[in-house]
Amino acid sequence: METISVLEDRKNQIYRKGQDSFDISCEKKSLAGAVSQRACVFCGSRVVLYPIADALHLIHGPIGCASYTWDIRGALSSGPELHRMSFSTDLSETDIVFGGEKKLEKALFELIEEYEPKAAFVYCTCIVGIIGDDVEAVCKKVAAKVGIPVLPVHSEGFKGTKKDGYKAACDALFKLIELNRKPEKQIPLSINILGEFNIGGETWIIKEYYRRMGIEVVAVMTGDGRVAEVQSAHRACLNVVQCSGSLTYLAKDMEKAYGIPYIRVSYFGIEDTSDALYDVAAFFEDTPKIMERTKTLVQEEVKTILPELSALKKDLTGKRAAIYVGGAFKAFSLIKALKHLGMAVVLVGSQTGNKDDYALLREMCDPGTVILDDANPLELAKYVMEKDAHLFIGGVKERPIAYKLGIGFCDHNHERKIPLVGFEGMENFAREVHETVTSPVWDLVPRKAFNRAISKKG
């Protein structure tokens, strides 16, 4: 049995419930040389803005950043699909020497003429900051000529973490709203959905719930997004923010600028989905019909899925799960959803959680659960083996760790094709977990050998 050592500088980003005082270190830059599961500022901006389907997304830099993000997640659109194109200024050596502004300007004019987008986002990558391109000025110049918003996204990879990328994206969204703001009337009984990206059709499920409740969705940011909808967002009564704060920055800005309050919700699992809908209904308490409809909706939906969930639970009860996700907020929901299926969570971690998030995770978890901030493959492997998990929930980078160690896997990230939100999402989730955990292939993998080795080591 190979011993996996944890780097000294990483030890205070790992916590084991019940064993020591709780002072997890988080919101730090990743340690150099540790193979972080995180990406960069650009990645944060790209995931947030990407689903806006009628906008031009131009990545200003050498080709890599565009190649690796071409059509890699669902972000389904019910209409235009311009967002699925990967546009890059593909900077070459001479551009680095002489600057990329002219190329950027020319590229923008050509692309806007050909694709007629409703707005354009220009993502700055690492070297744009270094070679000193004035992207802001180019965008202004182009916008003035073509008459659509052309917005720089300050997403230079090294200027912070993924969270800073969320912020840069939110800044761009806010600018987009501001550009169009006219003294228009607020739309009664209306909300914006924030932090929902329609990877596998989730946006449509959630919108349908709100329709049934009698609430108008003004804009979804950014799932199945459109520029015109985003630009009407200031007319909604409430911002309903999903996900661990990728869009919280925007919600805060909008609260400050337009007085629109926001609430944070999650649509993963029965409990959290119901809470989300009830919270929104409660906000519109002056229209009691909404709460009535919501109650009916929740009851109907839960009734529909319960029989199957109970059946699946029989096989899953007592199985152990590990969770490693981008944002901690998703982890909260997953813990509840897994409990619903009778499963125990033995490891939970996130790329970008903050102190409050980890404090809440600690409260929610059973003793002995390992809590990790910004983990790397070695740490994840060490603890899923030690905890002998049956299921790992994560993204594409965690999948091979799970599979190599003979552990079932559920993709809760970009690559999923099935919606996991809402009531039907819970059913999909339960099915997927069941499929992988009960697969007969685990009987064939040599996992049991190292389990024995671990128990010998104590």
């Binding site: 780097l7 500088d9 150099a32 040389g33 190649s67 050909e114 690492c126």
Partner: protein
């Protein structure tokens, strides 16, 4: 989405690139060396994006460390971060080698990596540090790949060894296959192993052997070999019984260190050979220059003709006749070509990918009667046209449109008018094939939308057999699917 207007004038932006950036190729090479961890000197995102990209193809853990630039690093230089990263990688993985590749960021701020590394060797001894310069704004992933192979060979074979080792026996053949699939590498190993089982050496005094200079170094069978890189085990290993910080497999470092004592080197890639002719360095050319090791450069052996060439060279270099097994494979392959000739003859294909791969696939298609009407690549070495002229017969060449430096959007616009019957290349051509409503035969890298990409065999008679069957069956399926009545025989 299909653009509304078709444009043929030069376009500034790249739309749906048919290439990846330089460090990706380097990272892949380092995964093909035993006990080696790649470390990218740049932002965290570079490592993570490339890991994700490689994982989606190989479906295996692909660890790539990062020196993790911050704003301060970008302003004051990346020296401290890189040194810290090396120490942390050394501590956490105890690797035999750390392969350090730069990125656009560290190259642009002008980090002098050799200077930063000065003294680090001793600090992390016995871990070897190899540095390859891979600015993402030059070339493509393939340049990063060849650059890393060259850097490793250079680092492990310093010129001083020439004199001390001159008297040791020379037996081995160095093989630099380029960016092939796991299955290709396994097949290469099988071929070399089969050669070593052959007991009858060929006459080294034959005119051919003398002409090729074999007599000067051939001491009986020279069938030992070192393939660099070899990620075929590491990036396609069995389920783990125990945790592996670095997966097993890869070219052993000690074998790379012994490359200067080989009888010959073999390097695949006609484009690569052309760049070497122009003064660029490759691993093979370096060994030739430093240690007088003869270099056999040849195209990637895809198809009968290219594979024949490969086996001929192998017979010469190993002084061993081709094993019976491969003669049989060749026989079956040609018989299959005959059986399927009518289904492929005059069919039109769009071929894309990295340049050397495009040349090899186009050569194979031409020999079965398929016209590679469009040969495109995101790479622009300047040699694609020439390489295709050399491999394609004139009557076919006349019907071929060649486009280096092309992206998928232009490819789609150009291909439409050429009325292709199918597309052959990596997964990234899916969009194009869907829009053109013609089938995609998946080969090369990356294969992100199917399982088993690393198991696709391209090279040798066996590889040609599999490619041929796949293409014929794809075309037959198409006929069946589009037939009004359907049929269960042919």
């Amino acid at each position: 989405m299909m653009p509304k207007k078709i444009k043929t004038k030069p376009y500034t932006a790249t739309r749906n690139a048919c290439k990846m950036c330089t460090p990706l190729g380097a990272a892949l090479v380092f995964h093909g060396i035993e006990g080696t961890i790649p470390l990218l000197h740049g932002s965290q995102g570079c490592s993570t994006y490339m890991r994700r990209y490689l994982i989606s193809h190989f479906r295996e853990p692909v660890d790539i460390a990062s020196s993790n630039f911050s704003e301060d690093t970008a302003i004051f230089g990346g020296g401290d971060n890189l040194r810290l990263a090396i120490e942390n990688v050394a501590r956490q993985y105890t690797p035999e080698m750390i392969g350090i590749a730069t990125t656009c960021l560290s190259e642009t701020i002008g980090d002098d990596v050799p200077m930063i590394l000065d003294g680090m060797d001793k600090k992390v001894d016995p871990t070897i540090l190899v540095h390859v310069s891979t600015p993402s704004y030059t070339g493509t992933h393939v340049d990063g790949f060849h650059g890393a192979v060259h850097a490793v060979v250079e680092r492990c074979n310093p010129v001083t060894e020439k004199t001390t080792d001159a008297l040791k026996t020379r037996k081995k053949i160095n093989v630099f296959p380029g960016m092939l699939s796991n299955e290709d590498i396994r097949h290469l190993k099988e071929i070399f192993t089969d050669f070593s089982d052959v007991r009858t050496p060929i006459d080294t005094q034959s005119p051919d052997a003398i002409k090729n200079g074999i007599d000067s170094y051939a001491m009986g069978n020279n069938t030992e070999f070192t393939i660099l890189p070899d990620y075929s085990e590491r990036l396609e290993g069995p389920s783990w019984e125990d945790y592996q910080a670095i997966q097993k497999g890869g070219t052993p470092v000690r074998e790379i260190k012994a490359m200067n004592r080989a009888t010959a080197s073999m390097e695949f890639g006609s484009i690569l050979a052309s760049t070497v002719d122009q003064g660029e360095k490759s691993a093979g050319s370096l060994l030739k220059e430093r240690f007088d090791i003869p270099l056999a450069s040849l195209g990637i052996p895809v198809g009968v003709k290219a594979t024949d060439l490969f086996f001929e060279r192998l017979e010469e270099l190993t002084a061993t006749p081709i094993p019976e097994k491969y003669k049989k494979q060749r026989g079956r392959l040609i018989d299959a070509y005959v059986d399927g000739n009518k289904y492929v003859s005059r069919q039109r294909a769009v071929v894309y990918g990295e340049e050397d791969f495009v040349v090899a696939i186009a050569g194979f298609l031409a020999e079965v009667g398929i016209i590679p009407v469009l040969c495109a690549s995101g790479g622009k070495s300047g040699f694609l046209q020439k390489a295709l002229e050399e491999i394609l017969p004139k009557n076919i060449l006349e019907q071929v449109t060649v486009h280096p430096g092309m992206d998928f959007t232009r490819m789609e616009q150009t291909a439409g008018a050429l009325e292709p019957d199918f597309v052959i290349g990596n997964s990234k051509g899916y969009t194009l094939s869907r829009h053109l409503n013609i089938p995609l035969v998946r080969v090369g890298f990356p294969i992100h939308d199917r399982i088993g990409g690393p198991r696709i065999l391209h090279i040798g008679y066996k590889g040609a057999q599999e490619l041929f069957d796949t293409i014929v069956n794809t075309l037959l399926q198409r006929r069946q699917d589009t037939s009004k009545t359907g049929y269960a025989y042919m």
